[in-house]
């Protein structure tokens, strides 16, 4: 079974030399004052360890925790071909950019990472409405 080593939402993921990635602006909450507007573009970054090289399909499902419909459900392929024969298991990086997403309401959501319809990991996401600052 694959194992999720890193999974997060962030503002940006940049490719560096030698296959490295820089993850910027890690967050787990959305602060939404007007639900008619989409949230800013954001990224999902996941590093997943597999037992061996091969072709795999990893799914992402964003859904509300409390009985709300799934916002999106996508599957992406990942191909692993290790360059060496070390004992370290192969890992694959997945980076997904989301543009124009609107949350229907505040509440607790979760991003599930799926493999063969099994949940590998969930990232909890809180969507809240900012409180009006108290003015004296």
């Amino acid at each position: 079974m694959p194992r999720v080593l890193i999974a997060t939402l962030c503002d940006d993921v940049r490719e560096e030399v030698h296959g490295k990635h820089s993850i910027m602006g890690v967050f787990n909450q959305f602060n939404i004052s007007d639900f008619r507007n989409p949230v800013n573009s954001f990224w999902i970054f996941a590093r997943i360890e597999f037992e061996q090289d091969g072709e795999y399909s990893i799914g992402f499902q964003l859904r509300a925790v409390e009985g709300q419909p799934v916002l999106f459900n996508v599957d992406g392929g990942i191909s692993l071909q290790s360059k060496n024969t070390s004992e370290i298991r192969p890992v694959g990086d997945i980076k997904v950019r989301v543009d124009g997403l609107r949350f229907p309401r505040h509440g607790i959501y979760e991003l599930a990472i799926l493999f063969d319809n099994n949940i590998l990991q969930t990232i909890p996401i809180q969507v809240f409405v900012p409180q009006t600052p108290y003015v004296q």
Partner: protein, 121 residues
């Protein structure tokens, strides 16, 4: 249904096809429809063309047309093969318009957070 009927605004999922060596754009609501092209905008345009043809046939034959899964369309991009800095021009026009609408209102608000969790403003 008459020809002036508006097409539903579906959301996009764009990824890279290793087999075809091209970008593939799909709709979340109709994943069987896809567009293949060497660039992301071209793949989206291909998918839109396929959707228009499918909707025409569906209306003529009385097929059920799925409702958009979200209030407004979004785009999910598997960015592993999209280059170091995906361009704003990759994003469909209807999504860019929605992103800029009312932006001045949301950008002008500043909020003091109640806890230490990181937040996307």
């Amino acid at each position: 249904m008459h020809s002036g009927e508006k097409n539903p605004l579906y959301s996009y999922f764009v990824s890279w096809s290793e087999k075809d060596r091209e970008f593939v754009a799909r709709f979340l609501e109709l994943p069987e429809l896809s567009g293949l092209a060497p660039t992301i905008p071209a793949a989206i345009a291909e998918a839109k063309t396929a959707l228009a043809a499918w909707l025409k046939a569906a209306r003529e034959r009385g097929f059920e047309i799925p409702e958009p899964s979200m209030q407004a369309p979004c785009m999910i991009l598997d960015a592993r093969f999209a280059g170091k800095e995906p361009m704003i021009s990759d994003i469909p026009e209807e999504i860019v318009q929605a992103k800029t609408k009312n932006q001045t209102i949301s950008a002008s608000k500043s909020v003091e957070l109640e806890n230490s969790h990181s937040v996307q403003p």
